[in-house]
Assembly symmetry: D2
Homo-oligomer: 326 residues x 4
């Protein structure tokens, strides 16, 4: 018996003003599947699943959970029992408890992140070929989560050793400690990345674009709608992952990455790309130096059992901020 | 005393169903300035003038007039008197007679085409930086008229010798007759082109796009709205003018070119580019062979005095159809 | 015990003039890994494997083999034994027998196509971030094989039932026969497609581009180098697979597709997209009607044991040619 | 009798290492027309003139002259005599004195900038349709000069009143002083801009690109060749001129702008666009805050008679640095 995690599936974020959020994500080019007074279900243009981003109206912005899709309900149960055997406390959510989502369970992962697994989500009509609905940055699909955690090596070892992820790229410090790691289940550069820093926190959610021009047009549309100041970093290219990137902050400060340019990683003999922490092209192949906020700020996460904010731990490795020119 | 023609300014087309036309030009990405039950005023995203395309509801599709903007009302009067002295019959239209257009006059040019000159048109707010309004092929501005006429050399000589146009490129037949000619006032490849064929007819109106990707996205949007069959030719690149082109037919068969890729022609010492009629790269630098309709069909034009269709004359040079591979 | 086919890996084509082929594939933007007097090894910009296209100088153009990469040598042996048990005659090729390729075996698949499996290929330096080497259409990586076979349903059932492929899209005839099918192992639209027609033949090899502009620039470069006539079809968009496509013929007539625009298919609950054979948007979401050559011509394939051309069988389903406008 | 200035034509820069400069401008995508041990003649892909950028090897980097093309030698002589009558000291350079350039004269303009006028330059083969030569940012043609001067209003009034330029856009301070102005002869946003600051200095030379993707690919190529740190600002969009921009510094610190996105300004009734100095979208419609170097550093200019550096004057208006978020 085994289990198969397919990909990063969705995130559930708490926001303080649903209407402000709707306007912002609409500007980015998301499709709204449906909404209530307190919930907004969003997805990308090619997504056949009900949503990849769920926004819930709450008093305080935070990350309720980040979710991965597994192959089947059998995989789900096997994974849950395995995690319980390893001492994790699981919270099951029955089919029907969450709109459009089948049976699911949540737990706090090795870094303290609120993680959910589910196998089934309702299907909806894809908009891939309804090009007249394309707008903003033409967001295509969810791609990855990027998390700031206090112990990257622990997370790296856990996701590879226990959950079957593979590493595509990583950053090594002088002492060959892993400073940051990019891990995938689907054959892209990542479904999840872990970076050294005070955590657990969610640094950003990455959404994939079909081409670089969509990112540039997205900037123009954001600016003409008054969201210019929400652009935090970019456009630029990371050495790591080869991403052509833009980072934007939503009205509650949640960070979204628009992302294009990675590559196929599905070969078993693909060797992880090693980057030296001091290589300036690692963070910024080209582009402006990232602002302090990009290094310092991230989204706080909740406990899946208490719904309280998870307490942060200091980063294990000493803080460093790479700069454009060393 | 002199006169200065600035550029191609607008076209007035007759269409049979204004609502069908509105949907089509909206899909292409035009901005609607205003409309009545019988008139629809359209412009491109960067245009500060009231319209560059006026559609009037009539029983029969046709071209009422193609219009050029001149520097001032003084230029207009000088040009009119000059043309009258040369034997042309002028039809003046006072300010107020045409919505948003100042004083204007019309006449039948040397090829029999209905041509209008005006100096003033009302200004409206440019949409250049309202990127959230960009859609379809993101039409930026009117660029040129392409006309099929029975005697190209006559038109060529007249527009250069009498109206002050310059030639950027031309096609020469074996006997060095001018088969087609590209003439400009503004420093682009053309404000007007004349091609050998039964005429006078308007072959197409060209609108300029800022980049090639807008043309591709325009195709996608047209197709997803059901206008795929309206794409007549392209995308492809002409050798002549270096245009990256798409030709579409509106619901009445009027032909619009979406156009990107030409160059600066304002240098007095720029030498016209000569193309041999038998050079296959002239018409199609790359791309599919043009369909017969592209060679055979064009828009019929009206007499500016009688509003009757102008009778067509046979082409002076023998008909030829260039093909992709000779 | 099981086996895991990772993806389409490489094709081996016979060409008659290696220097002519080199020039052509260089124009397209391929990277040359190495070459001898009789062999040319090519790959895309992101490929870390030695080659994805091997051209061998021979007297007659043909397809020697199309190859799929499997997870490990154990998978390879298990797969071989399984195929042998099913009555297939296997031809083993030891490590060292083929440059850069590990142990491999070949056989004639259910449609008579020459198919190879291998697990290992030498690694070479990726050029993904050496942007100064990007040229032509900036070919990124091999994506798929498209094969014309006499019995599509047989191939469809075999690849799904015996080899573990999944169907992303298919075309159904009036009687719900499968006219064409798109099958994948990696989570893209396809690693291999089968179309109804006289076969077995290889219709084209698809290479993936990062963005649509690379395809347009590729056309310009091909044309300026004199390869305009080698463009057989496109640019256009298929309804099927959502591909923004260009088909080119190499100097021996081998057909290459440049391809961008498909989507993630890795969800187990992704339902195959059904297209009606009579839906005009299936083949051509927009774009010119395909020329007869695109429907009629394909690359002949060799017997892996005799190196003789495999005899063609008539298509099981009646020939039809979809057209742009029904 | 009159004179007609056509457009900004070329710049002559002093550089300290011709080979380093050659590598850099080659990476940007310039075409090298010819070179000697001490001179390098560069042009864009569509340019039919011998060069638009001349680099001369000297001990110290500086700007020898910026040049405008006029209609004819008669225009040139008339303009020279007019300028002499106004008290300017003219330096004539005969045909043959400068490679490829006809008769020319130089003088120090109202701001102290070294300015040259010429009518004729040798023609060379355009590379517009030799797409296989396109590389880097695919530089198409020279577009404008941007100058930092101590008295912008003086320059503004002089170029409009004496030289016949038109204003497309300008920045007004609280007291309605002109802080910066964009002036043109060809119907684009500018041939020359003047910004308030210590001067006279040349801030940058702008080159026009056909599309935004060329700018992004240019960044990638610069970075992969090690020129990432030479990117000083961008990509981003200016509110002013609607430019999609990138600023790079050459090995001697000379600043080049890659530029796309402006619009047609040739209408006599086009009203200059007014920007408030405190409008944050003026400088940066979107994009990172400009670094201090962009505001503080510019290229020093030479005296056309003595070849000594022109002494700088303090800016008349108080220094301000606009920031991304006020």
């Amino acid at each position: 018996m085994s289990f198969d995690i397919i990909r990063s599936g969705r995130a559930v974020l708490h926001v303080t003003n649903l209407e402000e959020s709707r306007k912002f994500y609409d500007a980015l080019g998301f499709i709204e599947t449906e909404s209530t007074d307190t919930e907004l279900y969003l997805r990308g243009l090619e997504e056949h699943n009900h949503h990849s981003l769920l926004l819930k109206k709450k008093d305080t912005p935070s990350v309720e959970v980040i979710s991965y899709k597994v192959r089947s309900d059998e995989d789900l149960e096997f994974l849950a029992s395995k995690l319980e055997q390893e001492g994790n406390r699981i919270r099951w959510m029955d089919k029907g408890e969450q709109k459009a989502v089948g049976k699911a369970f949540r737990y706090q992962d090795v870094s303290g992140l609120p993680v959910e697994f589910y196998a089934k989500m309702d299907s909806v009509e894809r908009k891939l070929q309804q090009y007249h609905l394309y707008k903003g940055a033409k967001v295509q699909r969810i791609d990855h989560f990027n998390c700031m955690v206090s112990d990257v090596e622990q997370a790296h070892d856990y996701y590879i050793g226990k959950l079957g992820y593979a590493c595509s790229e990583y950053t090594a410090s002088e002492e060959e400690n892993i400073w940051a790691t990019w891990l995938h289940r689907k054959p892209s550069v990542h479904d999840v990345a872990f970076m050294n820093g005070p955590g657990p926190r969610l640094h950003h959610i990455g959404f994939w674009l079909n081409d670089p021009m969509s990112l540039i047009h997205g900037c123009d549309v954001l600016a003409s709608l008054g969201y210019g100041p929400n652009i935090e970093r970019g456009p630029g290219r990371h050495g790591l992952s080869n991403a052509f990137f833009l980072y934007v902050r939503d009205p509650d400060g949640h960070r979204i990455e628009l992302y294009n340019g990675d590559y196929f990683t599905g070969d078993p003999d693909f060797k992880p790309v090693r980057w030296d922490l001091n290589d300036p092209m690692r963070q910024t192949f080209w582009g402006h130096e990232a602002p302090d906020s990009w290094f310092d700020e991230a989204m706080e996460v909740l406990d899946v059992h208490t719904a309280e904010k998870v307490e942060m731990k200091k980063a294990k490795l000493k803080k460093r901020k790479p700069t454009f020119v060393i």
